[in-house]
């Protein structure tokens, strides 16, 4: 059929099964918004800032496993979206961002709201397109969705000049995407898999090292089965939280800079790392030359470039984690779980020596208590988003995660302001779960305008601010490494968060005691409205354990033991 470029965008979104689009209109994308006005197949959610639109699309994608979509205009609309693209790129989140561009005839003339969008997005997207003709649109849009979700997922940016959305051309979406130059390997090499199994069977102290790829490939179920069949302990990265249940006996918590003592020691002592969809990020490994010195490495990843990038892999397996783990399961009879009994015992002793915990030793609420308490009250009923900083690490340490895609956070890029808009996207994708956003008094203000979106679209996110009047994580580093020179991190000057929430039509609570917190959370859940719970917490609490940046994983600053 012959339709306009703008209409093609709508048709393509419908054919891709998109139900929510997050966006913000403007001059160059108006033709598309005119078509959005005329359709009823998907809901457009108007955020109050383009960055939030992309984070919301990310939240939607991470929670649902489907491709998230954001739409913005040219120039500043696009540049505001760049942080979201970069965030999605670092965390391999499948999203498609469609931006308007000035008409073809004006490109290169420094026209109003013109910017070289594809030039900017090139280094922070999996792929990008500048559409130069309406007849290319169906192919490009279909490729964009295909590239975003296949292989190692990632953001794809499609920049469409205004005249291209106005032009009429033939629309045919009924074809298979065939890209001669892009064919991700999803099936692992059977010989390599066999060798890996043999290596596991011979190892004395093997350790599963689970990364975000497990979540992305929907492999948690298979991974749980493999872990239990083999009896091999597992550590999770921040991105993999929820792969194993928090109470799983074989889970040794999170590893890395703020990982548990047991997890980091297990990683330092293991003789065989079984890395599944993990990428040996610097926040995980600490000092590379001291990292897992005794270990051989099995590395399963869909992205060949992740393998042997930082840590040499002795058994590289390129493939989709779900596929590879399914194949490993078929051979897992060769592995005797009893063989690792003393290794499991060793790790248990590590954990008993320095368990992941905190002390209630002040008048004030401890931030960790808040996380734990929400876990006790809501547990599996909540999806958890976070912003970035101390509260994020405490969430990873203390929330009792029970399933994959329960924790939605900005890992690689560490984007403050991610949490609230992402939580809206999560709520839009999974309305039956309570959407909690743990935030700090720094992060929350970075996308606070989204209160309006959430209230308008009835996306009842409960924002829990662990308020220590500090940019806490930076303050922690200043205390520990900069001789306590608190440079520009004191956030004592604050808005009244209760009135702030109320002024947007949400509910606000200011909480100073545990009793007040319980009451506030229960009330917020019951009222099912957009809420801010502003919790006054101990100001100077540090996130521990901590591996100082560039230090060895086994050299942790630990919580000082206290008599109970």
């Amino acid at each position: 059929m012959q339709i306009s470029g703008a209409r093609m965008v709508i048709e393509a979104l419908i054919k891709e099964g998109v139900t929510k689009v997050f966006g913000y209109p403007g001059g160059a994308i108006m033709n598309v918004y005119d078509e959005i006005y005329k359709q009823k197949d998907f809901e457009h959610i108007l955020t109050r800032h383009e960055q939030a639109a992309v984070h919301a699309a990310e939240g939607y994608a991470k929670a649902s496993g489907k491709v998230g979509v954001a739409m913005v205009t040219s120039g500043p609309g696009f540049t505001n979206a760049v942080t979201g693209l970069a965030d999605a790129y670092m965390d391999s989140v499948p999203i498609v961002v469609i931006s308007g561009q000035v008409p073809m005839s004006l490109i290169g003339t420094d026209a109003f709201q013109e910017i070289d969008a594809v030039g900017i997005s090139r280094s922070c997207t999996k792929h990008n397109y500048l559409v130069t003709s309406a007849k290319d649109l169906p192919r490009i849009l279909k490729e964009a969705f295909y590239i975003a979700r296949s292989g190692r997922p990632g953001p794809v940016h499609v920049d469409i000049p205004k005249d291209v959305t106005a032009d009429i051309a033939e629309f045919d979406y009924d074809f298979e995407v065939e890209l001669e130059t892009y064919k991700p390997t999803t099936k692992g090499n059977p010989r390599q898999i066999k060798k890996a199994i043999e290596a596991i069977a011979e190892a004395k102290r093997p350790l599963f090292y689970l990364g975000g790829g497990v979540i992305n490939s929907n492999a948690a179920e298979e991974v749980r089965e493999l872990v239990h069949k083999t009896g091999i302990p597992a550590v999770e990265t921040f991105m993999a939280r929820g792969t194993l249940r928090y109470d799983d006996e074989l889970l040794v918590s999170m590893l890395g800079m703020h990982g548990s003592y047991a997890a980091n020691m297990a990683m330092s002592e293991t003789d065989l790392i079984i890395a599944l969809g993990a990428r040996f990020d610097d926040r995980v490994t600490g000092k590379l030359s001291e990292f897992a010195k005794y270990a051989k490495v099995i590395h399963v990843d869909i992205d060949p470039a992740s393998i042997s990038k930082l840590v040499n892999a002795h058994y590289p397996i390129v493939g989709d984690v779900k596929n590879v783990v399914s194949e490993m399961l078929k051979l897992s009879d060769k592995i005797d779980p009893d063989r690792y009994e003393s290794w499991r015992e060793t790790i248990k002793n590590f954990d008993e020596l320095h368990p992941l915990t905190f002390y209630e030793d002040s008048q004030n609420i401890k931030p960790q208590w808040v996380i734990k308490r929400v876990g006790e009250l809501l547990g599996d009923d909540a999806n958890i988003s976070t912003d970035v900083g101390q509260h994020q690490m405490w969430t990873a340490q203390f929330y009792p995660f029970t399933r994959p895609r329960q924790l939605i956070s900005s890992g690689g890029l560490g984007t403050m302001g991610f949490g609230f808009p992402a939580a809206m996207g999560v709520k839009a994708a999974v309305p039956e779960k309570i959407s909690i956003n743990f935030s700090g008094d720094g992060s929350i203000l970075m996308n606070i305008q989204e209160l309006m979106t959430a209230v308008e679209k009835n996306l009842p996110v409960i924002n829990i601010i662990l308020n220590n009047n500090f940019l806490g994580m930076v303050r922690q580093w200043q205390t520990l490494f900069y001789d306590n020179r608190i440079s520009e991190t004191d956030l004592s000057m604050q808005p009244d968060f209760v009135k702030l929430a109320e002024s947007f039509g949400g509910i606000g609570y200011r909480v100073q005691t545990k009793e007040e917190f319980d009451k506030a959370l229960k009330d917020a859940v019951k009222q099912n409205k957009v809420a801010i719970i502003d919790v006054v917490v101990e100001r100077f609490e540090n996130v521990l354990p901590m591996v100082p940046a560039g230090g060895s994983l086994f050299n942790m600053m630990l919580l000082e033991k206290k008599e109970k």
């Binding site: 090139r122 999996k126 500048l130 001669e180 130059t181 042997s308 990038k309």
Partner: protein
Amino acid sequence: MSESIRRVISVIVVNEASVLSRITDLFSGRGYNISSLTVAPIPDTKYSRLTIVTEGSLRVIEQIVKQLHKLIPVLRVYDHVDFVEKEMALVKFSVDEDISDIAALCEAYNGKIANSGDNTIIAMVADEPKRVSNFLNIIKRYNPKEIVRSGAVALER
């Protein structure tokens, strides 16, 4: 860090807008080095061929190859091991220099006088990059006015 080695890498890419930027952005963004780069379409196909001379440790070279592969319009990447490599250079001299000496030198480096004008001549050589460097070193005594090197091209044997 392990020792830095010189490496010649050929990349076959779909001949489309901004594909060259994707390659060069990858190098600059990840801190890889480009010593030389040539690019031209492959006749009768929709592809172009780039030849990149780079330097880095073995791990870096491996990453370069893998990261290039990851780019969507990249069809193939050759990390050359056993290959023929040539580079061309053009050099402009004044006609007052000893032209017959220059011509003889050119011949030794697989070249010739490519053009002669009223005031200047242009010499051309095509040889292995190392030999081209030698040539350019030797002809310094004839006061070259302008020098251009093409960058290397290579084919695996």
